[in-house]
């Protein structure tokens, strides 16, 4: 297993690349999910405000 992790001495380069890919791609997925919550919350607040004004 440790041989696999060493990646023939290039461990740093290979794992940084795969790690960066993982981080970037997760961030790209997570950010719209958070964004959606924020958006729906914003619309709901607007609806409440309008209902109170009527």
């Amino acid at each position: 297993m440790s041989e696999f992790l060493r990646m023939g001495g290039y461990a740093f380069y290979v794992w940084t690349s795969y790690g960066l890919a993982f981080v970037l791609m997760t961030a790209l997925v997570v950010s719209p999910l958070i964004e959606k919550k924020r958006l729906i919350e914003g619309i709901r607040r607007k609806l409440r405000r309008e209902r109170r004004e009527k």
Binding site: G9, I40, K46, L47
Partner: protein
């Protein structure tokens, strides 16, 4: 023409995208696991570069995706300008950050892959340089979209910029290739001349398909947000928001 028109309606797009998301995500994960397994365990060690070449299973698909997404954005821009379809504009705007991320990923992994061979982090290799300017084109689109307040005007402005960009992309690529042969003679190109060993080629293809499904998945996620944002005042969004439990 009927179906084409229905897809253009934001509400309909929102529902269809919602249905596709689980499928796209599912297929992506299957392909990802298969691709990673093949790249890290099945593909043999390269006689020249040893294990460090495994970076290409991230670098090359990411580079392909950066070009692929820009092309999709240009097509969406053209559709938006010619047929004034709101959803094409949403696809373009939602794709820009994804494309920029893939371009950045391709740049960094390219430099990480090149370091053991060239001894420096950055070499003005033809492909890396074109990738760098592609990143500037993406950032230009994101910056322009952010700078214009009115969303509809911003959408049409970036559609034009995407079209202008896609015309210039091959020219920039051609110029950089020419420029590269002038100054460094022919450094060993990143991919190496030898024909790819099939056990190396398969993971490359599997990973690139995985990335395409990933793009579909995240595009729909972001596009739905963009639709919610733009259709904030419509009745169907109100019902949707009130209906949602969370």
């Amino acid at each position: 023409m009927r179906f084409y028109h229905r897809l253009a309606s934001p509400r309909h797009f929102y529902r269809i995208a919602g249905q596709w998301i689980p499928w796209l995500a599912g297929i992506f994960f299957v392909l990802l696991v298969w691709g990673l397994y093949e790249s890290l365990f099945v593909a043999p060690t390269d006689y020249q570069q040893g294990e460090s070449y495994r970076i290409i299973f991230i670098h090359v698909p990411a580079a392909w995706m950066s070009m692929f997404i820009y092309f999709i954005m240009a097509v969406a821009g053209a559709i938006n300008l010619v047929w004034r379809m709101k959803m094409a504009e949403v696809v373009l705007v939602a794709s820009a950050p994804i494309g920029a991320a893939f371009t950045f990923l391709a740049l960094v992994t390219g430099s990480l892959w090149g370091k053991p061979m060239w001894g420096t982090w950055w070499v003005w290799d033809a492909r890396l340089t074109s990738e760098l300017f592609l990143l500037f084109l993406y950032l230009g689109i994101i910056a322009l979209y952010g700078a214009i307040e009115d969303k509809r005007t911003a959408g049409r402005a970036v559609s034009i910029l995407a079209l202008v960009g896609v015309v210039n992309l091959p020219i920039i690529h051609f110029s950089v290739e020419w420029w590269n042969t002038l100054h460094q003679g022919s450094t060993v190109s990143l991919m190496g001349g030898a024909k790819m060993d099939p056990r190396m080629l398969r993971p490359l293809l599997v990973m690139s398909f995985a990335f395409k499904f990933y793009y579909g998945w995240v595009l729909f996620l972001r596009a739905r947000n963009e639709v919610l944002e733009r259709e904030r005042n419509t009745s169907w969004v109100r019902e949707l928001v009130e209906g949602k439990a969370t």
